[in-house]
Amino acid sequence: MAEEILEMKNIIKDFPGVRALDNVNFCLDKGEILALVGENGAGKSTLMKVLSGVWPYPTYEGDIYLDDQLVRFDNTREAEEAGIGIIHQELNLLPDLSVAENIFLDRHPLNKFGGIKWEELYHNAEKVLARLNMNIDPRTELGDLTVGKQQMVEIAKALSLDTRILVFDEPTSALTESEIKELFIVINELRDSGVSIIYISHKMEEIEEIADSVVVLRDGATIGDKININQVTLDEIINRMVGRDINDLFPRHEFKQGDKTLEVKNISVPDPFNPKKMLVDDVSFSAYKGQILGISGLMGAGRTELVNAIFGVYGKKSEGEIYLNGKKLNINAPADAIENGIALVTEDRKELGLLLDKNLVMNMTLPSIKSFSSKLAMDNHAERAVAEKYVDELNIKTPSLDVFVEKLSGGNQQKVVIGKWLITDSDVLILDEPTRGIDVGAKTEVYRLMNQLVEQGVTVIMISSELPEIMGMSDRIVVMSEGKKTAELERAEADQETIMKYATGNKGVE
Amino acid sequence: QDGGGWLDNLLGDNEKEDDGLIKVGFLLKTMQEERYIKDRDAFIEKAEELGADEVIFDSANNDENLQLSKFENMLTQGADVIVLQPVNTGTSSNMVKMAHDSGVAVVNYDSLIMNSDVDVFLTQNSWAVGELQGEAMVKWFKENRGEVKGNVVLLRGQPGDSNANAFSQGVLDTVEEYEGLNLVVDQSHEGWSPDLAMATTENALTKYDNNIDAVVANNSGLASGAVRALEAQNMADSDQVFVAGSDADLLNIRYIAQGKQTVEIFKKIKPLAYKAAEVAVTLAKNSDKPIEEIVNIDRYVDNGQIEVPTVITEIVVVNQDNIMDTVVADGYHEATEIFEEE
């Protein structure tokens, strides 16, 4: 019988208008890896924030027992001192500081004058990074790393804390396959050394691979008890999460390839920090009506830069030609792209996709604001009507149209972003990692939506780092590596090995 | 105005109603100079002595827009006459007009309100400040140097301030008059700042290799900055460099006593404030009497619109020899404060 290290009893957490946690009971054994799963907005992150002191007592109700001792943290520091570490869902790092300082923020080793012992700091940082098999100079400015590496630094930061309980809130959404492997090795080692792990993810295959047991949250309450991973199937877990069966994860429809719509030629984007380096290097491709074009590659391959260049983000700094329906476009800013019927769902919805402290209506009508206003006045009724229509159509879960979108769960936020671009009625819809961080149920809904759009004649381009998704949804796949296009594969020739081969740099034929 | 006032106000006309009380307004431009407390206290003392029921006192932080508001507020409070020292002589005529529209007389205090039909003007002849400083400087040159020849620094107050302009004009006239006088520095100082004046003087001394003979400042604070810059060069000696200020602040009078500064212009406050109180109370009592019957007019000064009946009180030059007879005799400073041991 495993020894219980943590018990959370009758936890209730309210936000204005929402009860995020409704009497949750939760326990964790010493040395187990527990997967915490649930739909977007189920309350997973909130529960962990309660545990780690982000929400101090008494902003929540209920009791937390650590080794049968009642604990009430005032802040994150107290939780850390009690041995609870957390890697938050969002990166919590400072891009202007070095890797080492990010890891040991406010925990620098000091000399007797209160001065920082830099050498020791770097040395300590190296040691922690080495545990993750990361070979980077701890003096590097964090902002110079790829998002994936930054995520690893975040993990290193938590590892450095010497914790007994370590929470991973969706740690892999920005990691490459090999980084994930590395991480899993470390997690297993930690477990073996007696650390208890809580692991949150929307990627079912990860759960299957790493977890010992599973707890499912839905609408702020646990569904059933903790179960041993060996005693359930994935389908059962999913069913518990969404309350229904999802039989077909990639409900792809077949369409007939239509006319060539978007054609881009020789797109290049120089690295702003090193003009000699190219983030996107001479990439050309075409997209067709009635097709989904997938863009695959490893993290940092330059896919985001490619679509940003098409969307006019770099202005005159990027090069290349863009044709839409045979007409050459002159795109110098996103406004030009939108005008010409190109829409981009950006990968970072919080920073680049949404006005977090504005309501749904304002967010959804922003790019198409012109069609809801004359020179003199906005037509508020019309924009509400349209927003309402898309909330229904996309099945966005929200108390009302007037809620600030920051209050919505990740999946629903993502749907708001997609909705905002659907309203523009664009010919080309580019989706950059459209399912990152959203739950299985929401994922299938996004896929259904993509199908529907293709059916309506929209040209869809999707960037994704998840191979099953790319293979499941694309008609054709462009593979990139280090800024270059390394392959363009038909659906039939695209299997996991082939894509990985090109993604890791094998420069195949065009 | 008691509870029923607003209804009367609403239905009746809006002429000032007479409450039978004698209310005198006194509106200064600021309280942020040494002298103004003395203006206020002397005025209130005298006005009450002469039978004013209420003195409404206020000042305007050197802000002409704020002064306008405060003036309006005094009218609202039912002042029968308002004594006004304008923040800006060029932008104050509207207050006079407003007062006259409500049947309230305006006594112009200290500096002349331009382009208005103000009732009477009481002044210590503030444009004479610069002239007096100039005269004292010429006298000093003659006594110490035998000839009126040398480098002069003019330290002006706030750029664009109407008084600073008036004071400076007197100095400029003197410099113009004497060929030997060479105006080497002419600089304004935001906020009448003594530290800026000190920097200006330091820079002037550097540039002219200490060949500075006279520093004339628009007020005491500026002069004290100059004295400090001179001290650093061991030149703060009233025989070596002429330094003139105006306002007779305590620090400057001490400098004069110590022989570090040459002269200060002392605008005697009490005679001016007393006279103003007297005129104001009399005007309030007999609002229809011609001004000439109320007070002795010294001269008539053109302000662009009318010849303003003007009463002039004395200003004097304070030097090392007459400290006791001027600022001390007048009760402006105590002898003990001035000659306090270091």
Binding site: - | W6, L68, S162
Partner: protein, 370 residues
Amino acid sequence: MKKFIKNNGTFIALIVLVIILSFLSPSFLSSRNLTNLVRQVTINGIIAVGMTMVILLAGIDLSVGSTVGLSAVTVTLLMQAGFGMWLAILITLIGIGGVIGFFNGFMSAKFDIHPFIITLGVMTIARGLSLVLTQGVSVPVTNMTFASIGSGYIAKLPSLIILVVALVLGVMAVFKTSVEMKSGEKVRNKAKLTGGLILTVAGFLAGFFIFIGYQGIPIPVAIFAVIVMIGIYTLSKTRFGRKLYAIGGNEKVAWLSGINILKSKTMVFVITGVLSAASGILLASRLNGASPNLGTGFELDAIASVIIGGTSFMGGVGTISGTVIGAIIIGVINNGMSLLGINTFYQMIVKGFIIILAVMIDVLNRRETA
């Protein structure tokens, strides 16, 4: 009701202030004093309307005070040089206000320099320019009609008509905005309706008491009212206003959604410049002359009004009606303390505390709601 109080902390603070003052000073609540008070508020209020937009964009404009001074001087000098009044006003609004605003907005948006530093520079430059133009000497107004803009009144009868029209329009607007969509159906929000009606009628009665009780609506107040109404309309009902909230909320998101940031930002500073110029012109007219130092420090009162009125320094959140309340609070403090005969030195201390307090009440109130 509770919600109303929580959302209108500053408004309540204003009412409390007014009640206290009317007990302390008998003349405070007279029509005449309130007419003065409202007119005194207009100079700062007009600038604060522009400042609201600037701060909505997470910007700041320190040059408004100098623009007031330079505009006052320019319009006066132009008339002296023989230009007709309207032409002089037009040239000043565009040539001073517009150009300064354009420089502020364009430079900060185009080169991504914080407007604090651009407008700090311009603040000094514009002040220097008005000193140069006047040679440091104040300039009298030579045009009689001009002086009457700042001190004139709309006669009582037309004033009454205006108030009644405003009442009718206000009631109509309340009826219109109290309709809400609830699951696709139009329903009337009763609380909103009665609340709105009470406020509108109270506003009308106050206007009647203040203006009809004295000499009618002062012309500067009428101008201010029109500017405020246009401002409120612009922010809440037009595409341009919507864009400002979006940019203030998250500039990058707004840009990626196709909004031209440079244009909007420049426009906002131009508006603020023109409003400051208008304020300067009114001030010259009220003072019947212009001096180069006019407007010194006005930026602080304008910013304080905006912040007291609930606009966030971080951008994206705020309203012009809030700013108007903020400006009135500052006006009431100044007017009240002056009526009470409080020593200017103590006035400064009290004013400082009240500014802090007003913002604290608002913040704490909202925190509780949130």
